[in-house]
Protein backbone atom coordinates (compact mmCIF):
# COMPACT_ATOMS: atom_id res chain seq x y z
CA UNK A 1 0.00 0.00 0.00
CA UNK A 2 2.82 2.34 0.86
CA UNK A 3 4.43 1.54 -2.47
CA UNK A 4 1.36 2.69 -4.33
CA UNK A 5 1.16 5.74 -2.15
CA UNK A 6 4.70 6.74 -3.05
CA UNK A 7 4.08 6.37 -6.75
CA UNK A 8 1.01 8.59 -6.60
CA UNK A 9 2.93 11.29 -4.81
CA UNK A 10 0.99 14.52 -4.28
CA UNK A 11 3.83 16.41 -5.92
CA UNK A 12 3.50 14.75 -9.31
CA UNK A 13 0.78 16.28 -11.43
CA UNK A 14 2.76 15.64 -14.62
CA UNK A 15 4.10 12.15 -14.00
CA UNK A 16 2.09 10.77 -16.90
CA UNK A 17 3.72 13.13 -19.37
CA UNK A 18 7.16 11.65 -18.73
CA UNK A 19 8.13 8.83 -21.06
CA UNK A 20 8.74 5.53 -19.37
CA UNK A 21 12.41 4.81 -18.86
CA UNK A 22 13.42 8.45 -18.42
CA UNK A 23 15.58 8.90 -15.29
CA UNK A 24 13.84 10.33 -12.26
CA UNK A 25 16.58 12.87 -11.61
CA UNK A 26 18.87 14.31 -14.23
CA UNK A 27 21.71 16.71 -13.45
CA UNK A 28 23.23 18.41 -16.46
CA UNK A 29 26.44 20.39 -16.04
CA UNK A 30 25.50 21.29 -12.46
CA UNK A 31 28.18 23.29 -10.65
CA UNK A 32 28.49 25.51 -7.60
CA UNK A 33 30.89 28.37 -7.19
CA UNK A 34 31.11 30.07 -3.75
CA UNK A 35 32.50 33.51 -4.59
CA UNK A 36 35.27 32.07 -6.71
CA UNK A 37 35.71 28.79 -4.83
CA UNK A 38 34.53 25.95 -7.03
CA UNK A 39 32.86 23.59 -4.53
CA UNK A 40 31.28 21.46 -7.25
CA UNK A 41 32.65 21.32 -10.79
CA UNK A 42 30.17 20.85 -13.64
CA UNK A 43 28.88 17.31 -13.39
CA UNK A 44 26.28 15.14 -15.05
CA UNK A 45 24.40 12.48 -13.17
CA UNK A 46 21.18 10.55 -13.48
CA UNK A 47 19.23 8.79 -10.78
CA UNK A 48 16.70 6.13 -11.68
CA UNK A 49 13.38 5.54 -10.01
CA UNK A 50 13.85 3.25 -7.01
CA UNK A 51 17.60 3.87 -6.79
CA UNK A 52 19.37 4.07 -3.48
CA UNK A 53 22.28 6.28 -4.43
CA UNK A 54 25.08 7.06 -2.06
CA UNK A 55 27.27 10.11 -2.53
CA UNK A 56 30.62 9.11 -1.11
CA UNK A 57 33.74 11.20 -0.69
CA UNK A 58 36.18 12.71 1.78
CA UNK A 59 35.31 15.74 3.90
CA UNK A 60 34.96 18.94 1.92
CA UNK A 61 34.56 17.27 -1.47
CA UNK A 62 31.19 18.93 -2.12
CA UNK A 63 28.75 16.19 -1.10
CA UNK A 64 26.55 18.43 1.03
CA UNK A 65 26.65 21.16 -1.61
CA UNK A 66 25.46 18.71 -4.26
CA UNK A 67 22.69 17.35 -2.03
CA UNK A 68 21.53 20.84 -1.05
CA UNK A 69 21.34 21.78 -4.71
CA UNK A 70 19.02 18.80 -5.20
CA UNK A 71 16.91 19.94 -2.26
CA UNK A 72 16.73 23.55 -3.42
CA UNK A 73 18.72 25.09 -0.57
CA UNK A 74 21.57 26.13 -2.84
CA UNK A 75 21.07 27.48 -6.34
CA UNK A 76 23.59 26.02 -8.78
CA UNK A 77 25.83 28.62 -10.40
CA UNK A 78 25.30 26.76 -13.64
CA UNK A 79 23.60 23.71 -15.02
CA UNK A 80 20.14 22.24 -14.83
CA UNK A 81 18.38 19.92 -12.41
CA UNK A 82 15.35 17.95 -13.57
CA UNK A 83 13.14 15.86 -11.37
CA UNK A 84 10.65 13.68 -13.18
CA UNK A 85 11.15 15.61 -16.38
CA UNK A 86 10.50 19.01 -14.76
CA UNK A 87 13.21 21.64 -14.56
CA UNK A 88 13.40 22.47 -10.84
CA UNK A 89 16.68 24.40 -10.95
CA UNK A 90 15.06 27.67 -9.92
CA UNK A 91 12.46 26.28 -7.51
CA UNK A 92 12.75 26.91 -3.74
CA UNK A 93 12.74 23.87 -1.41
CA UNK A 94 9.05 24.18 -0.51
CA UNK A 95 8.08 23.78 -4.17
CA UNK A 96 10.18 20.68 -4.79
CA UNK A 97 9.09 17.06 -4.66
CA UNK A 98 12.19 16.24 -2.63
CA UNK A 99 12.49 16.02 1.14
CA UNK A 100 15.58 16.13 3.25
CA UNK A 101 16.84 14.48 6.42
CA UNK A 102 19.31 16.96 7.81
CA UNK A 103 22.56 16.12 9.49
CA UNK A 104 21.52 18.05 12.62
CA UNK A 105 17.94 16.69 12.31
CA UNK A 106 16.37 20.17 12.62
CA UNK A 107 13.39 18.92 14.63
CA UNK A 108 10.90 21.45 16.01
CA UNK A 109 11.44 21.51 19.78
CA UNK A 110 8.06 23.17 20.40
CA UNK A 111 6.15 20.29 18.83
CA UNK A 112 5.67 16.70 19.98
CA UNK A 113 7.01 13.82 17.92
CA UNK A 114 3.57 13.36 16.31
CA UNK A 115 3.27 17.07 15.56
CA UNK A 116 6.74 17.09 14.04
CA UNK A 117 5.90 14.19 11.78
CA UNK A 118 2.57 15.63 10.68
CA UNK A 119 3.81 19.19 10.08
CA UNK A 120 4.34 18.88 6.32
CA UNK A 121 0.91 17.35 5.77
CA UNK A 122 -0.79 20.02 7.88
CA UNK A 123 0.93 22.66 5.76
CA UNK A 124 -0.41 20.95 2.66
CA UNK A 125 -3.93 21.25 4.13
CA UNK A 126 -4.41 17.52 4.29
CA UNK A 127 -7.65 16.63 6.11
CA UNK A 128 -7.00 16.10 9.82
CA UNK A 129 -8.19 12.48 9.69
CA UNK A 130 -5.75 11.59 6.97
CA UNK A 131 -2.92 13.41 8.76
CA UNK A 132 -3.60 11.41 11.90
CA UNK A 133 -3.70 8.13 9.98
CA UNK A 134 -0.52 8.75 8.07
CA UNK A 135 1.30 9.97 11.18
CA UNK A 136 0.36 6.71 12.92
CA UNK A 137 1.57 4.77 9.90
CA UNK A 138 4.93 6.55 10.12
CA UNK A 139 5.18 6.20 13.89
CA UNK A 140 4.76 2.44 13.42
CA UNK A 141 7.14 2.31 10.49
CA UNK A 142 10.00 3.88 12.44
CA UNK A 143 8.94 2.22 15.69
CA UNK A 144 8.40 5.35 17.74
CA UNK A 145 5.07 4.38 19.29
CA UNK A 146 6.32 4.65 22.86
CA UNK A 147 7.71 8.15 22.36
CA UNK A 148 5.15 9.74 20.08
CA UNK A 149 3.86 12.28 22.59
CA UNK A 150 7.29 13.36 23.81
CA UNK A 151 9.13 16.48 22.81
CA UNK A 152 12.09 15.75 20.53
CA UNK A 153 14.47 17.09 23.17
CA UNK A 154 13.47 14.17 25.38
CA UNK A 155 14.68 11.60 22.83
CA UNK A 156 18.03 9.93 22.24
CA UNK A 157 20.05 10.68 19.10
CA UNK A 158 18.86 7.55 17.33
CA UNK A 159 15.23 8.27 18.18
CA UNK A 160 15.53 11.87 16.98
CA UNK A 161 17.03 10.51 13.80
CA UNK A 162 13.97 8.37 13.23
CA UNK A 163 11.64 11.31 13.82
CA UNK A 164 13.54 13.29 11.19
CA UNK A 165 13.27 10.34 8.82
CA UNK A 166 9.54 9.90 9.43
CA UNK A 167 8.90 13.62 9.06
CA UNK A 168 10.46 13.56 5.60
CA UNK A 169 9.08 10.18 4.51
CA UNK A 170 5.49 11.08 5.34
CA UNK A 171 5.63 13.59 2.49
CA UNK A 172 6.13 10.66 0.08
CA UNK A 173 8.94 12.52 -1.65
CA UNK A 174 9.95 11.60 -5.16
CA UNK A 175 13.49 11.73 -3.86
CA UNK A 176 14.47 11.44 -0.21
CA UNK A 177 17.72 13.26 0.51
CA UNK A 178 19.81 12.28 3.51
CA UNK A 179 22.92 14.19 4.61
CA UNK A 180 25.16 11.95 6.75
CA UNK A 181 22.14 11.09 8.88
CA UNK A 182 24.02 8.65 11.09
CA UNK A 183 27.23 10.63 11.52
CA UNK A 184 26.49 11.52 15.14
CA UNK A 185 25.59 7.99 16.22
CA UNK A 186 27.92 5.42 17.76
CA UNK A 187 29.01 2.44 15.68
CA UNK A 188 26.45 -0.02 17.02
CA UNK A 189 23.50 2.28 16.63
CA UNK A 190 24.80 3.26 13.24
CA UNK A 191 24.76 -0.35 12.07
CA UNK A 192 21.24 -0.77 13.48
CA UNK A 193 20.08 2.36 11.66
CA UNK A 194 21.66 1.11 8.44
CA UNK A 195 19.67 -2.11 8.75
CA UNK A 196 16.58 -0.10 9.43
CA UNK A 197 17.25 2.11 6.42
CA UNK A 198 17.57 -0.94 4.17
CA UNK A 199 14.38 -2.40 5.61
CA UNK A 200 12.58 0.89 4.98
CA UNK A 201 13.75 1.11 1.41
CA UNK A 202 12.70 -2.48 0.78
CA UNK A 203 9.34 -1.89 2.45
CA UNK A 204 8.26 1.36 0.84
CA UNK A 205 10.45 1.67 -2.22
CA UNK A 206 11.13 5.19 -3.37
CA UNK A 207 14.31 6.89 -4.41
CA UNK A 208 16.95 7.75 -1.83
CA UNK A 209 20.10 9.84 -2.11
CA UNK A 210 22.36 9.34 0.85
CA UNK A 211 25.50 11.35 1.60
CA UNK A 212 28.26 9.70 3.58
CA UNK A 213 32.01 9.71 3.91
CA UNK A 214 32.01 6.12 5.16
CA UNK A 215 32.54 3.63 2.35
CA UNK A 216 31.25 0.63 4.32
CA UNK A 217 28.05 2.52 4.97
CA UNK A 218 27.75 3.40 1.28
CA UNK A 219 28.28 -0.21 0.29
CA UNK A 220 25.91 -1.53 2.94
CA UNK A 221 23.08 0.69 1.76
CA UNK A 222 23.32 1.83 -1.80
CA UNK A 223 22.77 0.06 -5.06
CA UNK A 224 24.72 2.82 -6.79
CA UNK A 225 27.60 4.83 -5.38
CA UNK A 226 28.78 8.21 -6.64
CA UNK A 227 32.36 8.84 -5.57
CA UNK A 228 33.35 12.49 -5.35
CA UNK A 229 36.67 14.20 -4.87
CA UNK A 230 37.45 17.91 -4.78
CA UNK A 231 34.12 18.84 -6.33
CA UNK A 232 34.44 16.30 -9.16
CA UNK A 233 32.31 13.21 -9.68
CA UNK A 234 34.99 10.54 -10.02
CA UNK A 235 32.86 7.46 -10.63
CA UNK A 236 29.24 6.38 -10.48
CA UNK A 237 28.51 2.69 -10.32
CA UNK A 238 27.47 -0.27 -8.23
CA UNK A 239 29.51 -1.23 -5.19
CA UNK A 240 31.10 -4.06 -7.20
CA UNK A 241 32.00 -1.75 -10.06
CA UNK A 242 33.68 0.86 -7.93
CA UNK A 243 35.44 -1.69 -5.75
CA UNK A 244 36.53 -4.19 -8.38
CA UNK A 245 36.89 -1.86 -11.36
CA UNK A 246 37.70 1.60 -10.04
CA UNK A 247 37.93 4.16 -12.81
CA UNK A 248 40.96 6.04 -11.47
CA UNK A 249 43.61 6.23 -8.81
CA UNK A 250 41.48 8.20 -6.38
CA UNK A 251 38.56 5.77 -6.38
CA UNK A 252 40.98 2.82 -6.14
CA UNK A 253 42.57 4.22 -3.01
CA UNK A 254 39.50 5.79 -1.38
CA UNK A 255 37.22 2.77 -1.65
CA UNK A 256 39.00 0.07 0.30
CA UNK A 257 42.74 -0.52 0.25
CA UNK A 258 44.68 -0.95 -2.94
CA UNK A 259 48.17 -1.97 -4.09
CA UNK A 260 49.61 -0.15 -7.06
CA UNK A 261 52.26 -1.46 -9.41
CA UNK A 262 53.79 0.91 -11.96
CA UNK A 263 53.62 -0.06 -15.60
CA UNK A 264 53.67 1.44 -19.11
CA UNK A 265 50.95 1.39 -21.71
CA UNK A 266 51.94 1.32 -25.37
CA UNK A 267 49.56 0.83 -28.29
CA UNK A 268 46.74 -0.33 -26.06
CA UNK A 269 48.83 -2.96 -24.26
CA UNK A 270 50.24 -2.80 -20.77
CA UNK A 271 53.44 -4.69 -20.01
CA UNK A 272 53.75 -6.26 -16.57
CA UNK A 273 57.03 -6.70 -14.76
CA UNK A 274 57.10 -10.45 -15.40
CA UNK A 275 56.97 -9.89 -19.14
CA UNK A 276 53.27 -10.59 -19.51
CA UNK A 277 51.29 -8.01 -21.48
CA UNK A 278 47.58 -7.37 -21.18
CA UNK A 279 45.17 -5.59 -23.48
CA UNK A 280 44.14 -2.29 -21.89
CA UNK A 281 42.76 0.41 -24.15
CA UNK A 282 43.72 3.98 -23.30
CA UNK A 283 46.30 6.67 -23.80
CA UNK A 284 49.93 5.69 -23.99
CA UNK A 285 52.06 6.52 -20.97
CA UNK A 286 52.62 5.65 -17.32
CA UNK A 287 49.85 3.64 -15.73
CA UNK A 288 49.24 1.86 -12.48
CA UNK A 289 48.00 -1.64 -12.04
CA UNK A 290 45.77 -1.93 -9.01
CA UNK A 291 44.94 -5.02 -7.01
CA UNK A 292 43.21 -5.48 -3.66
CA UNK A 293 45.17 -6.92 -0.70
CA UNK A 294 42.74 -9.82 -0.26
CA UNK A 295 43.13 -10.76 -3.94
CA UNK A 296 46.88 -11.21 -3.62
CA UNK A 297 48.06 -14.79 -3.22
CA UNK A 298 51.22 -15.68 -1.36
CA UNK A 299 53.29 -18.82 -1.10
CA UNK A 300 52.36 -21.92 -3.05
CA UNK A 301 49.03 -20.70 -4.51
CA UNK A 302 50.83 -17.72 -6.06
CA UNK A 303 52.85 -20.03 -8.32
CA UNK A 304 49.76 -20.83 -10.35
CA UNK A 305 48.65 -17.20 -10.59
CA UNK A 306 48.62 -15.22 -13.87
CA UNK A 307 51.13 -12.77 -12.47
CA UNK A 308 53.74 -14.14 -10.09
CA UNK A 309 56.56 -12.16 -8.47
CA UNK A 310 59.31 -12.94 -5.95
CA UNK A 311 59.63 -10.98 -2.75
CA UNK A 312 60.32 -11.07 0.93
CA UNK A 313 58.13 -10.42 3.95
CA UNK A 314 58.95 -7.13 5.74
CA UNK A 315 56.06 -7.07 8.20
CA UNK A 316 53.39 -9.41 9.52
CA UNK A 317 50.35 -8.17 11.43
CA UNK A 318 47.75 -10.41 12.97
CA UNK A 319 44.45 -8.51 12.63
CA UNK A 320 41.98 -11.10 13.82
CA UNK A 321 39.94 -11.76 10.72
CA UNK A 322 43.08 -12.00 8.62
CA UNK A 323 46.85 -11.66 8.66
CA UNK A 324 48.32 -8.70 6.86
CA UNK A 325 51.71 -9.09 5.19
CA UNK A 326 53.86 -6.35 3.76
CA UNK A 327 55.97 -7.81 0.98
CA UNK A 328 58.89 -6.12 -0.79
CA UNK A 329 59.14 -7.49 -4.34
CA UNK A 330 62.37 -7.93 -6.25
CA UNK A 331 61.31 -5.13 -8.54
CA UNK A 332 61.18 -2.82 -5.50
CA UNK A 333 57.41 -2.45 -5.00
CA UNK A 334 55.84 -2.85 -1.57
CA UNK A 335 52.63 -4.87 -1.68
CA UNK A 336 50.14 -5.42 1.09
CA UNK A 337 48.51 -8.85 1.11
CA UNK A 338 45.76 -10.12 3.39
CA UNK A 339 45.80 -13.86 3.98
CA UNK A 340 43.83 -16.19 6.21
CA UNK A 341 46.86 -18.19 7.29
CA UNK A 342 49.93 -16.73 8.88
CA UNK A 343 52.81 -19.16 8.50
CA UNK A 344 55.26 -16.61 7.11
CA UNK A 345 57.49 -14.40 9.22
CA UNK A 346 59.39 -11.24 8.44
CA UNK A 347 62.49 -12.07 6.41
CA UNK A 348 60.96 -15.09 4.64
CA UNK A 349 61.27 -15.19 0.86
CA UNK A 350 58.08 -16.06 -0.95
CA UNK A 351 56.17 -15.78 -4.16
CA UNK A 352 53.33 -13.31 -4.45
CA UNK A 353 50.88 -13.12 -7.31
CA UNK A 354 47.41 -12.40 -8.59
CA UNK A 355 45.08 -13.23 -11.42
CA UNK A 356 44.44 -10.83 -14.30
CA UNK A 357 40.73 -10.87 -13.52
CA UNK A 358 41.47 -9.27 -10.14
CA UNK A 359 43.53 -6.36 -11.41
CA UNK A 360 42.61 -3.06 -12.97
CA UNK A 361 44.58 -0.44 -14.82
CA UNK A 362 44.36 3.29 -14.13
CA UNK A 363 46.34 6.26 -15.42
CA UNK A 364 48.92 7.36 -12.87
Amino acid sequence: MLQRAIDSSPHSPITDAVPAGAPLVRLTGVAKDYNGFQAVHPLDMTIERGDFVSILGPSGCGKTTLLRMLGGFITPSQGRIEVDGVDVTALPPEKRATNMVFQGYGLFPHMSVRQNIGYGLRLARTPAREVAERVEEMVDLVQLGAFAERAPTALSGGQQQRVALARALIMRPKVLLLDEPFAALDLKLRKAMQDEMRRLHDAIGGTFVFVTHDQTEAMALANRIAVMEGGHLRQLGTAEEIYLHPANHFVSAFVGEANFVRAMRRNGRVALSNGLTVVSPGEDGDVEIGVRPERLMIGAPAEGADVCLRGSVTERLFLGAHVQYRVLTESGETLVANALEGHFSPGDSLRIGWNLADQWVVAS
Binding site: G71, F73, P92, P93, E94, T98, N99, M100, F102, Q103, G104, Y105, G106, L107, F108, P109, H110, M111, Q115, Y119, G120, R122, L123, A124, A164, R167, A168, M171
Partner: protein
Protein backbone atom coordinates in the same frame (compact mmCIF):
# COMPACT_ATOMS: atom_id res chain seq x y z
CA UNK B 1 17.76 10.11 54.63
CA UNK B 2 19.37 12.65 56.92
CA UNK B 3 21.67 13.65 54.10
CA UNK B 4 18.77 14.49 51.82
CA UNK B 5 17.02 16.51 54.49
CA UNK B 6 20.16 18.48 55.24
CA UNK B 7 20.78 19.09 51.55
CA UNK B 8 17.23 20.35 51.08
CA UNK B 9 17.59 22.62 54.08
CA UNK B 10 20.85 24.00 52.73
CA UNK B 11 19.27 24.66 49.39
CA UNK B 12 16.38 26.49 51.05
CA UNK B 13 18.85 28.44 53.13
CA UNK B 14 20.47 29.67 49.94
CA UNK B 15 17.15 31.25 48.95
CA UNK B 16 17.08 33.50 52.01
CA UNK B 17 19.07 36.44 50.58
CA UNK B 18 16.94 36.51 47.44
CA UNK B 19 13.72 36.42 49.43
CA UNK B 20 15.03 39.10 51.80
CA UNK B 21 15.92 41.46 48.97
CA UNK B 22 12.66 40.86 47.11
CA UNK B 23 10.58 41.16 50.25
CA UNK B 24 12.38 44.16 51.76
CA UNK B 25 12.64 46.22 48.61
CA UNK B 26 9.50 45.21 46.82
CA UNK B 27 6.79 43.37 48.71
CA UNK B 28 6.80 45.28 52.01
CA UNK B 29 6.47 48.75 50.44
CA UNK B 30 3.80 47.42 48.11
CA UNK B 31 1.75 45.96 50.93
CA UNK B 32 2.17 49.15 52.93
CA UNK B 33 0.86 51.08 49.94
CA UNK B 34 -2.08 48.77 49.58
CA UNK B 35 -2.99 49.41 53.20
CA UNK B 36 -2.56 53.16 52.86
CA UNK B 37 -4.79 53.24 49.79
CA UNK B 38 -7.74 52.49 52.09
CA UNK B 39 -6.95 55.40 54.47
CA UNK B 40 -7.57 59.07 54.02
CA UNK B 41 -5.80 62.28 54.96
CA UNK B 42 -7.06 65.06 57.08
CA UNK B 43 -5.02 68.19 57.76
CA UNK B 44 -1.97 66.54 56.15
CA UNK B 45 -2.24 63.61 58.58
CA UNK B 46 -3.00 60.01 57.72
CA UNK B 47 -6.26 58.93 59.24
CA UNK B 48 -6.22 55.20 59.95
CA UNK B 49 -9.86 54.49 59.16
CA UNK B 50 -10.24 51.94 56.38
CA UNK B 51 -12.72 53.01 53.70
CA UNK B 52 -13.31 52.75 49.97
CA UNK B 53 -13.65 56.47 49.29
CA UNK B 54 -10.42 56.68 47.32
CA UNK B 55 -11.46 53.90 44.98
CA UNK B 56 -14.93 55.38 44.61
CA UNK B 57 -13.34 58.66 43.58
CA UNK B 58 -11.15 56.90 41.01
CA UNK B 59 -14.20 55.09 39.67
CA UNK B 60 -16.06 58.36 39.16
CA UNK B 61 -13.24 60.72 38.12
CA UNK B 62 -10.24 58.80 36.81
CA UNK B 63 -11.51 55.97 34.59
CA UNK B 64 -10.90 58.19 31.56
CA UNK B 65 -7.24 58.93 32.36
CA UNK B 66 -6.63 55.29 33.32
CA UNK B 67 -8.09 54.14 30.01
CA UNK B 68 -6.14 56.78 28.11
CA UNK B 69 -2.91 55.76 29.88
CA UNK B 70 -3.52 52.07 29.20
CA UNK B 71 -4.36 52.84 25.56
CA UNK B 72 -1.33 54.96 24.77
CA UNK B 73 0.95 52.58 26.73
CA UNK B 74 -0.43 49.59 24.85
CA UNK B 75 0.18 51.42 21.57
CA UNK B 76 3.76 52.17 22.61
CA UNK B 77 4.28 48.57 23.75
CA UNK B 78 2.88 47.09 20.53
CA UNK B 79 4.99 49.38 18.32
CA UNK B 80 8.11 48.77 20.42
CA UNK B 81 7.64 45.00 20.44
CA UNK B 82 7.05 44.87 16.69
CA UNK B 83 10.11 47.01 15.96
CA UNK B 84 12.16 45.03 18.47
CA UNK B 85 11.25 41.81 16.69
CA UNK B 86 12.13 43.26 13.29
CA UNK B 87 15.51 44.54 14.48
CA UNK B 88 16.33 41.43 16.55
CA UNK B 89 15.41 39.18 13.65
CA UNK B 90 17.63 41.24 11.36
CA UNK B 91 20.54 41.00 13.80
CA UNK B 92 19.99 37.27 14.19
CA UNK B 93 19.49 36.34 10.57
CA UNK B 94 22.42 38.42 9.34
CA UNK B 95 25.34 36.35 10.54
CA UNK B 96 27.73 38.70 8.75
CA UNK B 97 29.13 42.05 9.88
CA UNK B 98 25.77 43.77 9.47
CA UNK B 99 24.22 41.79 12.30
CA UNK B 100 27.03 42.64 14.68
CA UNK B 101 26.97 46.27 13.62
CA UNK B 102 23.25 46.49 14.36
CA UNK B 103 23.71 44.77 17.72
CA UNK B 104 26.55 47.14 18.59
CA UNK B 105 24.46 50.14 17.56
CA UNK B 106 21.59 48.87 19.72
CA UNK B 107 23.80 48.53 22.76
CA UNK B 108 25.38 51.93 22.10
CA UNK B 109 22.02 53.70 22.25
CA UNK B 110 21.67 52.42 25.82
CA UNK B 111 24.47 54.78 26.81
CA UNK B 112 22.44 57.88 26.00
CA UNK B 113 20.35 58.62 29.11
CA UNK B 114 16.64 59.02 29.27
CA UNK B 115 16.67 62.81 29.49
CA UNK B 116 19.19 63.09 26.69
CA UNK B 117 16.78 61.27 24.43
CA UNK B 118 13.90 63.52 25.44
CA UNK B 119 15.92 66.63 24.67
CA UNK B 120 17.11 65.11 21.41
CA UNK B 121 13.50 64.61 20.33
CA UNK B 122 12.64 68.15 21.44
CA UNK B 123 15.33 69.54 19.15
CA UNK B 124 13.97 67.39 16.36
CA UNK B 125 10.27 68.14 16.81
CA UNK B 126 10.23 71.62 18.35
CA UNK B 127 9.04 74.88 16.76
CA UNK B 128 12.57 75.68 15.70
CA UNK B 129 13.41 71.99 15.35
CA UNK B 130 14.96 70.18 12.46
CA UNK B 131 11.70 68.70 11.15
CA UNK B 132 9.83 71.99 11.18
CA UNK B 133 12.75 73.91 9.68
CA UNK B 134 12.94 71.39 6.88
CA UNK B 135 9.20 71.51 6.23
CA UNK B 136 9.20 75.32 6.17
CA UNK B 137 12.39 75.39 4.12
CA UNK B 138 10.84 73.13 1.51
CA UNK B 139 7.70 75.32 1.57
CA UNK B 140 5.62 72.27 2.44
CA UNK B 141 4.06 74.39 5.15
CA UNK B 142 4.00 78.12 5.81
CA UNK B 143 4.29 78.03 9.58
CA UNK B 144 6.00 75.54 11.87
CA UNK B 145 3.65 72.82 13.12
CA UNK B 146 3.33 73.04 16.90
CA UNK B 147 1.50 69.74 17.12
CA UNK B 148 4.70 67.82 16.41
CA UNK B 149 5.99 68.46 19.86
CA UNK B 150 3.59 68.63 22.84
CA UNK B 151 1.33 65.91 21.51
CA UNK B 152 0.57 62.26 22.25
CA UNK B 153 2.52 61.45 19.07
CA UNK B 154 5.66 62.95 20.60
CA UNK B 155 5.15 60.87 23.74
CA UNK B 156 4.87 57.72 21.62
CA UNK B 157 7.97 58.60 19.59
CA UNK B 158 10.11 59.38 22.63
CA UNK B 159 9.09 56.31 24.61
CA UNK B 160 9.40 53.93 21.65
CA UNK B 161 12.89 55.18 20.88
CA UNK B 162 13.84 54.97 24.53
CA UNK B 163 12.43 51.48 25.08
CA UNK B 164 13.46 49.87 21.81
CA UNK B 165 16.96 48.71 22.85
CA UNK B 166 15.61 47.23 26.09
CA UNK B 167 13.01 45.34 24.10
CA UNK B 168 15.45 44.14 21.43
CA UNK B 169 17.70 42.34 23.89
CA UNK B 170 15.26 39.69 25.22
CA UNK B 171 13.90 39.03 21.74
CA UNK B 172 17.40 38.62 20.31
CA UNK B 173 18.31 36.39 23.25
CA UNK B 174 15.34 34.14 22.48
CA UNK B 175 16.12 33.98 18.76
CA UNK B 176 19.76 33.03 19.19
CA UNK B 177 19.30 29.43 20.39
CA UNK B 178 16.94 28.61 17.51
CA UNK B 179 18.59 25.97 15.32
CA UNK B 180 18.77 27.27 11.73
CA UNK B 181 18.42 23.71 10.48
CA UNK B 182 14.88 23.61 11.88
CA UNK B 183 14.05 26.61 9.69
CA UNK B 184 15.39 24.84 6.62
CA UNK B 185 13.43 21.75 7.61
CA UNK B 186 10.24 23.82 7.72
CA UNK B 187 11.02 25.18 4.26
CA UNK B 188 11.71 21.65 3.05
CA UNK B 189 8.35 20.45 4.34
CA UNK B 190 6.51 23.10 2.37
CA UNK B 191 6.55 26.30 4.43
CA UNK B 192 6.95 29.62 2.65
CA UNK B 193 9.39 32.10 4.24
CA UNK B 194 6.42 33.61 6.06
CA UNK B 195 5.29 30.13 7.11
CA UNK B 196 8.71 29.49 8.63
CA UNK B 197 8.35 32.65 10.71
CA UNK B 198 4.86 31.68 11.80
CA UNK B 199 5.55 28.04 12.63
CA UNK B 200 9.20 27.71 13.51
CA UNK B 201 10.16 31.12 14.96
CA UNK B 202 7.30 33.07 16.56
CA UNK B 203 5.85 30.26 18.71
CA UNK B 204 9.27 29.78 20.24
CA UNK B 205 9.82 33.39 21.31
CA UNK B 206 6.44 34.14 22.89
CA UNK B 207 7.95 34.57 26.38
CA UNK B 208 10.50 37.05 25.04
CA UNK B 209 7.88 38.97 23.08
CA UNK B 210 5.74 39.12 26.20
CA UNK B 211 8.74 40.35 28.19
CA UNK B 212 9.36 43.08 25.63
CA UNK B 213 5.68 44.02 25.64
CA UNK B 214 5.34 44.03 29.42
CA UNK B 215 8.53 46.01 29.90
CA UNK B 216 7.49 48.67 27.40
CA UNK B 217 3.96 48.79 28.73
CA UNK B 218 4.88 49.08 32.39
CA UNK B 219 7.55 51.73 31.83
CA UNK B 220 5.13 53.76 29.68
CA UNK B 221 2.21 53.41 32.06
CA UNK B 222 4.32 54.52 34.99
CA UNK B 223 6.11 57.36 33.25
CA UNK B 224 5.34 60.97 34.14
CA UNK B 225 8.43 62.75 32.86
CA UNK B 226 7.94 62.17 29.15
CA UNK B 227 4.30 63.35 29.07
CA UNK B 228 5.28 66.49 30.95
CA UNK B 229 8.31 67.25 28.77
CA UNK B 230 6.87 66.52 25.33
CA UNK B 231 3.21 65.65 25.86
CA UNK B 232 1.75 69.15 26.17
CA UNK B 233 -1.10 70.09 28.47
CA UNK B 234 -3.59 67.67 26.95
CA UNK B 235 -1.52 64.52 27.35
CA UNK B 236 -2.09 63.74 31.02
CA UNK B 237 -1.15 60.22 31.92
CA UNK B 238 -1.78 58.47 35.23
CA UNK B 239 1.85 59.00 36.21
CA UNK B 240 1.21 62.73 36.26
CA UNK B 241 -1.91 62.42 38.40
CA UNK B 242 -0.22 60.06 40.82
CA UNK B 243 2.80 62.31 41.07
CA UNK B 244 0.67 65.31 41.89
CA UNK B 245 -1.17 63.40 44.64
CA UNK B 246 2.08 62.47 46.27
CA UNK B 247 3.60 65.89 45.65
CA UNK B 248 1.59 69.08 45.56
CA UNK B 249 -1.67 67.64 46.90
CA UNK B 250 -0.06 65.59 49.65
CA UNK B 251 -2.82 62.98 49.35
CA UNK B 252 -0.84 59.79 49.71
CA UNK B 253 -3.91 57.49 50.12
CA UNK B 254 -5.49 58.68 46.87
CA UNK B 255 -2.11 58.41 45.12
CA UNK B 256 -1.70 54.88 46.43
CA UNK B 257 -5.20 53.94 45.28
CA UNK B 258 -4.44 55.41 41.84
CA UNK B 259 -1.23 53.41 41.76
CA UNK B 260 -3.07 50.21 42.52
CA UNK B 261 -5.80 50.88 40.01
CA UNK B 262 -3.19 51.51 37.34
CA UNK B 263 -1.29 48.41 38.39
CA UNK B 264 -4.40 46.24 38.16
CA UNK B 265 -5.20 47.65 34.74
CA UNK B 266 -1.63 46.96 33.66
CA UNK B 267 -1.82 43.38 34.84
CA UNK B 268 -5.07 42.97 32.93
CA UNK B 269 -3.53 44.38 29.73
CA UNK B 270 -0.44 42.19 30.03
CA UNK B 271 -2.56 39.11 30.71
CA UNK B 272 -4.61 39.94 27.63
CA UNK B 273 -1.42 40.34 25.60
CA UNK B 274 -0.22 36.97 26.85
CA UNK B 275 -3.45 35.22 25.95
CA UNK B 276 -3.44 36.95 22.58
CA UNK B 277 0.12 35.89 21.81
CA UNK B 278 -0.51 32.33 22.89
CA UNK B 279 -3.60 32.19 20.73
CA UNK B 280 -2.21 33.77 17.59
CA UNK B 281 1.47 32.86 17.69
CA UNK B 282 0.99 29.13 17.38
CA UNK B 283 2.50 26.70 14.94
CA UNK B 284 0.24 25.13 12.39
Amino acid sequence: MMGVAVATMRRNLLLVPAIAVLGGLFLVPLVWFLVVSFYRVSLFQLVHEPNLANYARIWSDYLGPIGYTAGISALIAVVTTLLAFVVAHLIWSRGDGWGNFLLGATLLTLFGGYLVKIYAWRTLLGREGIVNNTLVGLHLTDNPIDALLYSPLAVVLVLVSYLLPFAILPVYGALRPIDPTSLEAARDLGASPWGVLRDAVLPRIVPALLTAFALSFLVSAGDYVTPRMVGGTRTQMMGNFIESQFGLRMNMPLGAAMTFSTLLTSIAVIAAAWIGMRTFLRAK
